[in-house]
Amino acid sequence: MSEATSNAPAAPRPQSEFIRSLKRLLREPLGVLGLALVLLVIFGAVFADLLSQWDPTRINPRVRFEGPSGEHLLGTDQLGRDLFARVLHGGRIALYVALVSTAVSLAIGIVLGLIAGYGPRWLDNLMILLFDAMKSFPTVMLALALVTIVGPSLTAVMIVVVLVNVPGYARIVRTQTIAIKSSEFVTAAQSAGASTARILRVHIMPNVIGPLVILASMDIPVVIAIEAGMSFLGLGVRPPTPSWGSILNDGFAQIRETPWIAIAGGVPIIVTTLGFTFLGETLRDVFDPRLKGR
């Protein structure tokens, strides 16, 4: 039996596609929750300095291992640093890494994918081989190898994220490009004399970018987890810079005596991951053309 396809006749849409999708998003409880959590994290990171008067790196031996109080909302760590300030500033690092490295991965992935998809067959084969080789490295191995070369740093984290993400993005762009390049509107552009650069930029890229951005938004929690994980292992952000992963590590040793440190590092990771996941999944559903008109 055939599927029941969209049986509503097409009519001109008065509103822009974006506004409609946004409205659909706000009707999904999970999407609203995701959006709220994400906004909360962003808010905390942006206004970190206003929300806490403490310097996240100031050491104060007199207040080591203090539990949550009016003074220190989430308590202090083994060096007497204010955990609330560290969590807020750790959010900055997490979001910074997530956004910058995802944007860089997207840019590189799109370019490589377009080249592989539109270029000659041999180049495509070569690039696919490269992508697959890169993908076959486990993330942790890749991180360890890289840190051995360049040393632990924020940049190392971002390079790892880019190396992990690019092959996947490039593959998706490549597949889409191959599908789109044989469509009639691309042939029509060729027939009109459009250059390859113009075809890629004007006719192909806008059609691959939408689904890719949604996919990338679902990857953000993974990136945040990579950053936290690497910092936890001491491969990422260098102390004293605050990161959720290093806070978690600080609290890990004394988890029985002073559990609030580990909680302060772990809960934000969970909240952010859930927030971006809910948001990303809802975005995907909302923009999915198969669900249009519902």
């Binding site: 097409a10 509107f185 691309v186 029509a188 027939s191 250059s195 806008p206």
Partner: protein, 330 residues
């Protein structure tokens, strides 16, 4: 006809490689076709799926390499030209593709779509917004359609946008691949009227590719019927409709059900299906389906010329001359 034709196609072949490393071979999508189109003339290529009509159109437009023959446009050879040399030709020869909506880039506005040819070939100081309005008006769409996207258009409106794009640079020749495909009957006429009107006003030459003979009847000056990559009959459209000479043309003409329940159909049914290009029949390639095939037809290739048939139909007759001894030939 003292003037040189705008387009002439001489014995063009298009070969597609088939097979693997060991048994490499080629099939002929277009197997030696010649015709020419005068300035301001409408020429129709008619054939069923697999007849090679779209391949031929793509070859003329330089989207498909030819393996033999020559294509001359506006006095110069255009076959085998590189991308850069072909670019100025593309200003003067535009092509319309089958799918009215699918041939429009989905993320571009109508305004951007109709002015894209200017962006590609240089704007020469034109105001693109004005050009968009001018072109849309020319094809009978309101100028505010420039802000719409292809998915917001009906099939007929999308086809008009395609026409606007095709005429943007004031070409000398338009190749239209199935200009009425996917359109409702009530809209088909609109598009054909528009093409006719533009042709008269702008002095365009057109090559129209279609499987629907009845579309051709009203728009084309001359028509060629294609079968397995060859022309089986070519001539003035009106004459061909009145007196089809090739059995295939006659069968195509009779295959159109008419909206009259009482009409008795004196139909020429074609047995079997179109043979594969991989196994072209010997002799006359139509003999496997021809109701009047003789021994000779499976042996000898049919004569060249406008009717590729050993036993063409007599004017007004429903069977070949040779087999209808009693019917007087006029």
């Amino acid at each position: 006809m003292s003037e040189a034709p705008i387009l002439s196609v001489d014995d063009v072949q298009v070969a597609f490689p088939v097979g693997g490393m060991l048994n490499r071979g080629a099939i002929l999508g277009v197997a030696g076709v010649s015709f020419s189109v005068q300035r301001g003339e409408t020429f129709a290529l008619v054939g069923e799926s697999g007849s090679g009509k779209t391949t031929l159109a793509r070859a003329i437009n330089g989207l498909q390499e030819i393996s033999e023959g020559a294509i001359t446009f506006d006095g110069g050879r255009i076959d085998g030209l590189g991308k850069r040399q072909m670019k100025p030709i593309r200003k003067r020869m535009s092509m319309m593709f089958q799918d009215p909506v699918g041939s429009l880039s989905p993320r571009m506005t109508v305004g951007d779509l109709v002015t894209e040819p200017f962006r590609i070939h240089g704007t020469e100081g034109r105001n693109l917004r004005d050009e968009a309005a001018r072109l849309l008006t020319l094809v009978g769409l309101p100028a505010d359609f420039a802000a719409r996207y292809p998915h917001q258009l009906s099939g007929g409106q999308a086809r008009r946008v395609g026409v606007a794009r095709a005429i943007a640079l004031d070409p000398a020749l338009i190749i239209a691949d199935e200009p009425t495909a996917g359109l409702d009957v009530s809209v088909q006429g609109e598009v054909l009227n528009l093409l006719n009107d533009l042709r008269e006003r702008l002095g365009l030459a057109m090559v129209i590719i279609t499987h629907n003979l009845h579309v051709v009847h009203h728009v084309a000056d001359r028509t060629a019927v294609m079968y397995l990559g060859r022309f089986v009959e070519m001539g003035e459209t009106e004459t061909m409709f009145a007196n089809p000479r090739h059995p295939y043309t006659a069968a195509l003409l009779s295959a159109n059900p008419e909206p009259d329940p009482d009409k008795t159909h004196d139909r020429i049914t074609l047995p079997a299906e179109v043979p594969s290009l991989l196994a072209r029949p010997p002799g006359c390639e139509f003999h496997t389906r021809c109701p009047w095939a003789q021994d000779r037809c499976s042996r000898d290739a049919p004569p060249g010329g406008d009717v590729a048939c050993h036993y063409p139909l007599a004017p007004g007759a429903r069977a070949p001359v040779a087999t209808q001894v009693t019917e007087p030939v006029t």
